[in-house]
Each structure stands twice: as structure tokens, then as C-alpha cells.
Symmetry: C2
Subunit: 194 residues, 2 copies
């Protein structure tokens, strides 16, 4: 992006991303990141006044990564909106499962929520992709596109979280989330075409 890739700032974020992916969100301490970046524990403070600022920068990378994955997936999928939404949803759930620590961090609002950080806005591009597809897949009797898209996102997100947490496998007895995903898409977009 606009960051000097070789600068300490970028190295700190990269170390943090690596750490959260490998060890989970609780392992992401300022001092550990500084250690991995090979600098003293006070160094990050030049670029990130507080721990929250660094975590937010890491989470931002997570959103960028997820958004990029979705766009990459959609490049190879045919133009039917329903098909594309299915692919988007699958990517979302796979991301949450494969990068659980990062996914958790991205939505830990108690860690990240700060007026000045504007982290929430980071998810808007991804939502825009989803909302666009929803608008095209929407049936005339459905709720307004923004509402429908919001509800669908929430459903995806809830599956991702409750599945990772173990509640959904336990409650439904399922061993994978395919049926849940199908039911969700059918519910919001109407039964799948044959």
C-alpha cells in the first residue's frame, strides 16, 4: 500500500499478522511483536501509540486479505449472481475456519473499537461486493437490497462464529457447514435453481 515495505512499521504489522495467524489473538503482545521484529519493546510506540492501534493495523490486513480472497474467487466464477454469492459465502466461511485467530481479532470490537481508528469502515468494500450481488439476485418481494444484504452477511458471520466456537456442530449434530450454508442461501435468496 502506502507503507514502506522495509520500514519498521510494516515489519511490525507483518510480524503481528504472522503471530495472530500462527498462535491466535492472545499471543499478539506488543513486546512479542517487537521481539520478532528484532527491536526493543519500546520501538513500536513510535508508530503505534497504543496496543490497540497495532492490533487494529493487523486486523486491517485481515480485512484486506479476506476481501482479496473473495475477489480472487469471484474472478473465476460465472456471472450468475446466485452462484457468485455461494462462492463468496464459501470463501468467507473457509477464511474464518482457516484463520480463526485473525477472524476473531477482526471482530473483537472491545479491542478495536475506537472512534478515531475507523476500523469498521474496512469491511465496507467487502460488504459492497456482497450488496451488489444481492441486489442482482434479489426477488421483487424481498426486503430492500441493503437490508437483505445485511441479513445475509449476518447469517454468514453467525455461522462462521458459532461453527468455530463449536456450538453449531454440537447443536445440529452436523459434521460440516454445507447444509447450513445451503439453507441460509435458500432462505435469503429463494430455493436454489435445479
Amino acid at each position: 500500500m502506502d507503507a514502506d515495505e522495509t520500514g519498521l512499521r510494516a515489519r511490525l504489522v507483518a510480524a503481528g499478522v504472522d503471530l495472530v495467524l500462527r498462535e491466535g489473538q492472545s499471543a499478539v503482545s506488543l513486546r512479542e511483536i517487537a521481539r520478532r521484529a528484532g527491536v526493543s519493546h519500546g520501538a513500536p510506540r513510535r508508530y503505534f501509540p497504543t496496543h490497540v492501534d497495532l492490533l487494529s493495523a493487523i486486523a486491517r490486513e485481515g480485512f484486506a486479505d479476506l476481501t482479496a480472497r473473495v475477489e480472487r474467487t469471484l474472478r473465476d466464477v460465472d456471472p450468475d449472481p446466485r452462484t457468485r454469492l455461494t462462492a463468496l459465502a464459501r470463501t468467507y466461511l473457509d477464511f474464518a475456519a482457516a484463520h480463526r485467530g485473525m477472524f476473531e481479532l477482526m471482530f473483537r470490537h472491545d479491542l478495536l473499537d475506537s472512534g478515531r481508528l475507523r476500523l469498521r469502515e474496512t469491511s465496507l468494500p467487502l460488504f459492497a461486493v456482497l450488496a451488489d450481488l444481492v441486489a442482482r439476485a434479489r426477488r421483487p418481494t424481498d426486503a430492500p437490497a441493503a437490508v437483505l444484504a445485511g441479513a445475509l452477511w449476518a447469517n454468514l458471520h453467525g455461522i462462521a462464529q458459532l461453527w468455530a466456537w463449536g456450538s453449531l456442530p454440537l447443536a445440529t449434530g452436523a459434521t460440516d457447514d454445507d447444509a447450513l450454508l445451503r439453507a441460509t442461501l435458500d432462505a435469503h435468496l429463494g430455493p436454489a435453481p435445479a
Copy 2:
């Protein structure tokens, strides 16, 4: 329950519940709880070998509270399953909004997920209530009841979390979650009757 209400164990949990409701999950340290309970910082260790054990006990209270609220709400609602599901959903969302810190703690699987703690099972009674209503509201062409109930729970949960996080208000431009809730129920259970 089976705990001596005047015992230190119960006092610690009560102090923790109070703290998480008032200050949020990050304020719930062992030492602070001990301070509020008027005992030394080492005392909780008799009953909760580790911080996670205490947090789990607090989260359990949260699930019990939520379940009780749902049951209390349902006592005054007429028998139509759709109406009852609406009331249940409303209670779920209101709980998440009113007790954000507790709601977050309840689903912090990185803190609570531990084979021996069996915390996930605590949400099963609530899911059973929902699943029962879903089974009765289900249309013949819908997904199996367990799947439908799981998808609906996930949708509710996602709305609760993304709304609290601020993403959904931002993305949809809505000022309350009523439209999202209605769209969700319509999607999973079919259009509302007049």
C-alpha cells in the same frame, strides 16, 4: 443452584458478573474480582484454578440469564410458533445490546473453549427452545428442522454481533435492527402472515 449463596465461590462469580456487566469483559481480572469480593488476590484460586475457569463460571451465569429471560418472555406470548420465535429473537438481540460485555464473554471461545469446561453445552437448552419452535413453524419444503434452527440461530447471532460492533448500522444505514430481524424471520420461516 447447588452453590452456597453466601460462600466465597458464589460471591466471586457474582462480583465477576457485576463487573462484566458494568465494565466489560476486559475489566474482569482475577485480582479485581477478589478485591470486590473483599478477599486477597490468591483466594479465588481455591475455587477457580485458573482465570479461564472463573470466566467460564461467569459466562455460564450469562447463558442462564439469557435462557431465563427467553423463557420469561415466552410465558406471556401466544402459542403461535412464529410469534414466539419473533419474541425469542427480540429477546436475544436485546440481551446482546443491553449486556454487551457479557454477550462477548459468552462467545469468547478462545477463553472458554476447553474440553473439560463443557461450556458450549450451556447454550443447548436455549437452542432446544428455539429448535422446538422452529420445528413447529417449519414448512414442509424447508430444510430439516435442526439445520433450519441452526441457520436461524446463526442469523440472530450474527445480527447481534455485527450490530453491536457497528458494522451493520454502518453498512445498511439503519438506525435500528427491526428491519433486519423481520427480514431474517421472513427469510427462514416464510413471509409473515398479515
